[in-house]
Symmetry: none
Amino acid sequence: MVLYSGTMSAPTARGGRPREERVDAAILSATRELLVEGGYAGLTVGAVAARAGIGKAAIYRRYETKQEMVFAAAVHGLDLESPPDLGSLRAELEWLTEVIAATLSGPAVAGALGGLLADMSDDAVVSRMRETFVAHQRANVTAVLDRAVARGELTSRPDAAVVHAMLLGPVFAWLFVLREPGDVRGFAPTLARMAAAALSA
Amino acid sequence: MVLYSGTMSAPTARGGRPREERVDAAILSATRELLVEGGYAGLTVGAVAARAGIGKAAIYRRYETKQEMVFAAAVHGLDLESPPDLGSLRAELEWLTEVIAATLSGPAVAGALGGLLADMSDDAVVSRMRETFVAHQRANVTAVLDRAVARGELTSRPDAAVVHAMLLGPVFAWLFVLREPGDVRGFAPTLARMAAAALSA
Amino acid sequence: MVLYSGTMSAPTARGGRPREERVDAAILSATRELLVEGGYAGLTVGAVAARAGIGKAAIYRRYETKQEMVFAAAVHGLDLESPPDLGSLRAELEWLTEVIAATLSGPAVAGALGGLLADMSDDAVVSRMRETFVAHQRANVTAVLDRAVARGELTSRPDAAVVHAMLLGPVFAWLFVLREPGDVRGFAPTLARMAAAALSA
Amino acid sequence: MVLYSGTMSAPTARGGRPREERVDAAILSATRELLVEGGYAGLTVGAVAARAGIGKAAIYRRYETKQEMVFAAAVHGLDLESPPDLGSLRAELEWLTEVIAATLSGPAVAGALGGLLADMSDDAVVSRMRETFVAHQRANVTAVLDRAVARGELTSRPDAAVVHAMLLGPVFAWLFVLREPGDVRGFAPTLARMAAAALSA
DNA sequence: GTTTAAACGAGACGGTACGTCACGTCTTGTC
DNA sequence: GACAAGACGTGACGTACCGTCTCGTTTAAAC
């Protein structure tokens, strides 16, 4: 399922030249490339336009600000599949954690998220982020918890927001604050095991 | 214990007018005020100077970059006491979590941390951050774990980095990514209880 | 005599939908309106199209550049009649001056001429302007001078270019450089009287 | 006498780094060079900054708009000396006309005036132009007429504005509208002779 | 009639310049 | 030599306009 694909009012489709998909794609992939190469701080709208072979106006026709564009590029196309039924809470938590870790440690996301957080005084981007990225992940967490309750692994369903924070948070901190050397992926199973223990207690 | 107070080499004290403490204080409190008012994104060095009633040069005489200044202002004076022996792992984890939550949710820190993370490609600030904020918190986590091992609550000492991530992460995510409404402080006991269960398992 | 009516090759009339006269008229009158409202500097092709209720392409199908369009709108339909034989050099000079003043002080022309002059590095517009506006006026000046010589009012025929400059110039300066308050029309008789005296001397 | 040297509020001179004369001079001469090379239409603020080896901000600190800058550069330093007493109205008119022709046909002025006229909807530039360029020339015309009256060459003093238009206008038209080939300078004596005849009649 | 070809309103396109703003440095005169 | 003030070069921002190019539709002439 594609999470996100554009921010500004789509063309009213009432006559006029239609937007070119080629341009949409070029913007997003140029943004991702430059995010990987120089991070959020080193990313310029002009450079994105140049790399994409388009004009700046074509970008601002689609995104109100640079932040919107980066957000779209970093989160767009994150294919957040729903968690499969793996038979046990712990296995599903591990699956969730791995997906979160994989998502956050993708090269474009890694370059963008810090910067996005910085400019988050901009309420529009904040709420868009919540409506897409956060809401979708939350739904997955809820689904896993509901299944665990149905299986009898949990007697009462814990607050999904708390569990979400417990899964997402450590991965986030590991990547963006603590910046421990080594792969995050190895961290996921440990985290999932601990979370399962915490919930079962 | 005061964590941080300045970044650049103090004046060599070889004649000339000494730096005025008044200026140091004015910079830091102006920075904190503006951080609260407009967040990191809306903070400019010029505005800090104007608010403090000083010149920009006085700032750059003390901090090499805007990031250093914000970091000093947001973290300076965070009095990170060592965790007292409270008799049980769970009580001490709760104490740690509450201190972390209190630290991160302070108004200036809340405004600054996201932005600081954004500009963290700058290695100087990254390493300074790690050497002070992270290292000190990590030491506290280690101390708590060591005491729990000594008490026999834990058979083997878990990796302090992992535990650190499990405590800091959810608080961080709660505040900066999920931005759930309501106080973080109420979140701390729940988190500590879960962490204790996870570690004991 | 109509001076000017279009610049680009008319449709070859080889099938296809014919151009609509309605559109021609709408472009010209929208241009004139906007010229009056905001002058040349404030006029955009997009605004002309919007005001005329047409598309930009319909404009560029008729005029190669914005300058061509403005020129057509400001000069089109200037009905430059030939000067009647009024019996005396002075009377005919006065007639010429009044026609020039009336032409230049028309609302659309007043808004356009300065701007047109500005973009006159474009040689196409320059030569078109010379071939129409200037050439026609020059012919009228020549005719008046020839008649004066025939009448014996002048012993030798002065250079028509000089006389043209002496009539057109002051009106032009009055309107576009000096911008004296008050009507230009009252200025015409004085100017004509002086010109007559100068030529007779 | 220097006509013009800056437009925006000079620095209050109450502390702070003073403006560098080097920058003022570099802006003006770069503007003149580019005016000569490409005319008003081909002149960009960025190019002026680059040629001058300065930043755009240094330009906008001095001039509110591109037009102000061009005006300053084209008219700045026009050393409009007062007309000397040459003994006769005709000689002094010739002197005036020559000065006007020399001024308008200078390379920078020639490149700028058309464009300036175009953007003249901007009232600030218009009034500045009147207050400096026009007012000064007008004063010279008045002085010449007053002396002619004192000498008894004229019985009543004609309207200076009209005479100004009669001298400036033809030169202006010659250069910017008619664009006759050949030097304007040769035109000045003829014009002055005619003007003298017109006034004496 | 059908076909064909161009004009139509709308608006997206690449490009270029605008004027603004912030950074971190430098330069005054004063303390 | 630190201070307040503020100008400096650099370079990104988001806006506006140019002249071109697609869309899907409409309209008249050619067949």
